[in-house]
Amino acid sequence: MLTPPDVALAPLLPILLVLAGAVSSTVLGFHLPRRTLTAINLVLLLLSAAAMALLWSGPGELPATAFGGSLRADNAAVLLGLTIVAGSMMALLVSLDTAYRARLSFPEFDAMLMYAVTGTLLIAFSGDLIVMLIGLEVMSLASYVLATLQDSRRAEESGLKYFLLGSVGSAVLIYGLALVYGATGSLSYGGIAAATAGLTPGNLGLLVGGALLLLAGFGFKVALAPFHQWTPDVYSGAPTTVSLFLSTVVKVAAFAGMLRVFGGALQNAPFWASALQLLIAATLIVGNAASLFQTNFKRMLAYSAVAHTGFLAMALLGTPGLGGAALGYYLLVYTLMTGAALAIVAALQRTEAGMNISDLRGLYHRHPGYAVALAACLASLAGLPPFAGFFGKYLAFQAAFQNGYVWLSILAVLASVAALVYYLRPAMLLFMPDRTPAREYPHGQRPATNLTVALGVAAITVLGLLPNLWYGWLADPAIWELLAGR
C-alpha cells in the first residue's frame, strides 16, 4: 500500500513567503518599478520572520517537520532563519539607496537576492543532506549571478572566480555526500548519526573520507583557509551591496549547514574535528595577517570576513550544546556589525572599488554620524568589551577551550590582539584632524542606509550590554543537541 507523502505547509511557510517574493519579483518586474518590488520583498521577509516566530516550540513540544523529517522547523532552524532574514533585510534596505548608483537597479537583482534567501532558509531548515544540497546550490547559483550582475569588468571577474571555485567546492561537497551515504546507507541527519555508532572498518574509512570532503566543500563556502582564495577578490570586486549580502547572509547559511552536518549528523564521526582545527588555525593566521597589509578599506573588510570565519568556526569545535549557542549568538552579531560597516562603505564610496583607508581621515568632521557608527562597528569587529562582538568572541573561544582545544584558543586570542591593530587604525583615523579634501560621494539623501546603520549599531550596543536578549533564547542546550532529529 502506498502511503501519502507527508506535506505540511506550516514549517514550509517561512520559505514559501520568501519564494513568493522571488517569483513575484521575476514576474512583476515587467510592470512595477524596482523600489515597489523591494518594498514588497521587505514586507514578505518580515512576514517570513513572523511565521518563523510562530514555529517556535516551547519546552516539551516536538518541532514541526515536513516530508518525513526532511524539513525540520526546530528551534535551531528558527534562530538561524531569523539571523538570515535580518541580514537580507539589511542588504535590501541598503540597495534602496545604492542600487541605482551601482547600476544594479533591476528587478532581477531583487529576484536573485530573494532566490538566494530561499536557498539559505532551506539549508537552515534542512533535515537531510539532499535538502541541504538543494538549498546550498540554489543559494550559490543565485549568488554567482548577483556577483556578476553589474555590467563592469571588476564584477565579471569576481563573478567568474566565484563561480569556478564555488562549483569546485560544490562538486567536492557532493562527492563527500556520496561517500557518507555509502558508509551509512542513509541521507537523513538522524539516520547518519544513528549509523555512525557501529561501523565496520571498511565503512569507517568511507565515512572519514566523506566527512573530510564535506569539510573541504563547506570550507569553500564559508572561506576557511586554504579554500578562501576567492573571498577577497569576490567581496572586493562585487558591488558593495552584494558584498554585504555575500559576507553576511551566505556565510550564515553555510555555517548553518556546517552546524547541521557536523554538529548533528556527524557529531560522533572521528577525525573531522582534528582537520577542522588545522583549517581554523590556518584561517586565523592567513586572515588576520593579510588584513594587516591592506590599503583599501573594502578589501580589508573582505579579509576581516576570512578572519572572522576562523573565529566563528571555533564554535563548531565545542560540544553541541555550548558550541551551537555560541555560533548562533556570534552569527547574528557578525551579521549586524559587518552589515552596518559595509552599509557605511556603500553610502560613502565614490566608486564600487570602495575607499582607501587613508581616505577615512577626518571623516568625523564631515559625517559625524557615520564616523561614530563606523567606529562602533570596528570596535565590535575587533571584539572590544562594550560591544556585542566581544561577547560573541568570548563564547566561541570558551566553547573550543572547554572542549579541550587549548592551543587553538591561545592562537585565537593572539590573533584577535593582532586584529586590534587593523581595526583600530581606521577607527583612529576617523577622528584625526581634517586636512585632506573630502573624498566621499557627496550627494544624496540616504534614509534607508541611515536606518540600517542606526539599527545595526543600536543592536550591537544593546546586545553587548544585555547579551541575554538574544543569548537567552539560544542558551538551552537541548536546541542544539537535537540538530539531527530523534
Binding site: 538543494i134 546550490e137 571577474e157 572566480k161 562549483s167 542513509s186
Partner: protein, 102 residues
Amino acid sequence: MDPAPTTYYVALSGLLFAIGMMGVLTRRTAIMMFLSVELMLNAANLALVAFARSWGDLAGQTAVFIVMTLAAAEVAIGLAIIVAIFRQRETTNVDVLATLKG
C-alpha cells in the same frame, strides 16, 4: 554471471573524480575548468548509484536525479557568466582575469 562488486564502481568513480580535480587545477580556460567540474559531479553520481545498489535503497538513486538537475542549472549559470566575460574580453583564459589582487 555475477554483477561487478561495488568496490569496482567506487574505484572508477574515485578515478573520475581525481581526473576532474586534475583538470580544474591544470586547465587555464574557463570552459575546460568547467567541464572538469562536470566530470567531478558525474563521479559523485556514479558513486551514489553504486552505493544505492549495494544498500538496496532508492534514496541514493533519487539523489542522482537531483544532482543532475543541479548540474544542469549550474551549466546555465556558468555558460552565461563565461559568455558575458567573452563578450568583453574575447578570451576565456582565466589568467587574463587578474585585476583584483593583493
